[in-house]
Subunit: 286 residues, 2 copies
């Protein structure tokens, strides 16, 4: 086969991560975005949206471990979960591993992402066929949280693209306010918090943090090492009405569940909230 | 200028990090390796050895913070330091920030690296002209530790290339045994511990850990997010005769020094030793 590379340009365009393409599996222009699925020798099958890498078979475990388990180790009585985005199914897959979860509403704007992942990424998307507690809604997450009833969810995961394109409305204060409203009195919001190294990324992180901390009394940020994302280190926000992510961590209770995870553990739960000094400074100025 | 890219291929050759070259500053074939210095818009001036990226102006602070400060926050009475490698000067620069340090012996095999960094990377290499406690020896680190007297150093930093090429002898059990011998009774060894994500990297990490823990009673591994290294996350080993890197951390004492650091702080000191489950497994099998 020809020597073909997928290149993701970071920040200014002077840095890129390249993945050699072994096989082109799927190319589609959906009503929302350009969807492409390829195979790379090292990272396996990977999906890109509008030219940005979203998920690879080999390192998705990091992202999905870290978006799901921290909240469930802090509040082990979570029953009702809302996932915004997350079309590949990986976040729902991890949430569904907890037997005490009663319902997972998932609102993905682009049905084509779900269908393509079912076909090419069964390691994340098989949850769609195996999980009866999962209620998939193809629709707009911004509208969904605006219309949902007060005090409905214990946990909301915002598993979105970056704040450009379809993901834009998921980084607004109105969206965070609706999340607050539809969360129960001890609810937790986990959201995409971008990366921090380059100046332009830092501005996005600062903006998101500035909005969230206006809405939630507890707003923290934690990081994880995902090789295929820009700079290799990405962040989620942990916003909450009641629980502190460290003080309220139920180490023993979580470990007693006996869940096997490849990235997450209760040590790294604490470690992930320890931030480099330059990241602390970005957040303190938010 | 022409559209030129420096590409570093990771592991199998199917993944690469590309840095656009704004300017070619220096190309040299030294007696030990191929040395190149370029300028990139995002990461500034960067040096490569045998085609592998070693140091960039923009993210060197991460590496040099993390190789230096953890040991000094654990033992604040360190006086005599040995640096093996570290030709760019960044590790010596950080160590020299502590007034209580009396002497820094630095053994760099390739004098051409020192000269090129003096010219093109003054932000790391200015230490050579400003620091009277720094004793630069151009020579072989393996031979140096074999010939040095017993119980000479409080701290050894192995700031080397990967275990291929000139750095190879710095990953052997004989080398670690000599480090043990020339360290004082409460000595600490910090060494390059590679990365962990890809199978081939994991094997290197396992090999190094397996050797070090045979020699030192305390052998731990800690990580840090450096964007221009493969997978964005790299590890150092903390090996010691007496001190535990967490239990013996002197948080207050270190903070009272008032050192400004851009990456290191005593929270991330603890966080860096919290390892993902797959890394714990690699090390437990060593």
């Amino acid at each position: 086969m020809a020597d073909i590379w997928f290149n993701e340009h970071h920040v200014t365009g002077s840095v890129k991560l390249g993945l050699n393409i072994q096989e082109i599996l799927h190319i589609e222009k959906t009503p929302f975005q350009e969807l492409q699925i390829y195979r790379n020798e090292t990272f396996g099958v990977f999906m890109t949206l509008d030219g940005f890498l979203q998920v690879t078979e080999k390192d998705e475990f990091v992202y999905h471990d870290m978006i799901s388990h921290p909240a469930l180790a802090v509040n082990p009585t979570i029953k009702n979960v809302l996932i915004i985005g997350g079309g590949d199914g990986g976040s729902a897959r991890e949430i569904a591993r907890y037997n005490h979860i009663e319902k997972i509403d998932m609102v993905e704007i682009d049905g084509a992402v779900v269908e393509a992942c079912k076909k090419y990424l069964p390691s994340t998307a098989s949850v769609y066929t195996t999980e009866p507690r999962l209620n998939l809604i193809i629709g707009d997450g911004v509208q969904f949280v605006a219309e949902a009833a007060d005090c409905t969810y214990d946990l909301i995961l915002v598993d979105s693209t970056d704040p450009a394109g379809p993901g834009e409305g998921l980084f607004t204060i109105a969206f965070y306010e609706n999340c607050y409203r539809i969360l129960k009195e001890d609810g937790i919001l986990i959201n995409q918090h971008e990366c921090a190294f380059h100046d332009l990324d830092a501005i996005q992180m600062q903006k998101a943090h500035s909005k969230i901390k206006k809405v939630f009394p507890i707003a923290r940020v934690y990081g994880f090492n995902i090789p295929t994302y820009s700079t290799g280190y990405w962040y989620f926000g942990f916003a909450s009405k009641k629980y502190d992510p460290i003080k309220d961590l139920k180490t023993e209770q979580w470990e007693n569940l006996g869940l096997k995870t490849k990235y997450y553990n209760t040590d790294i739960h604490i470690g992930a909230f320890a931030l480099p000094t330059y990241v602390k400074e970005i957040l303190s100025k938010a």
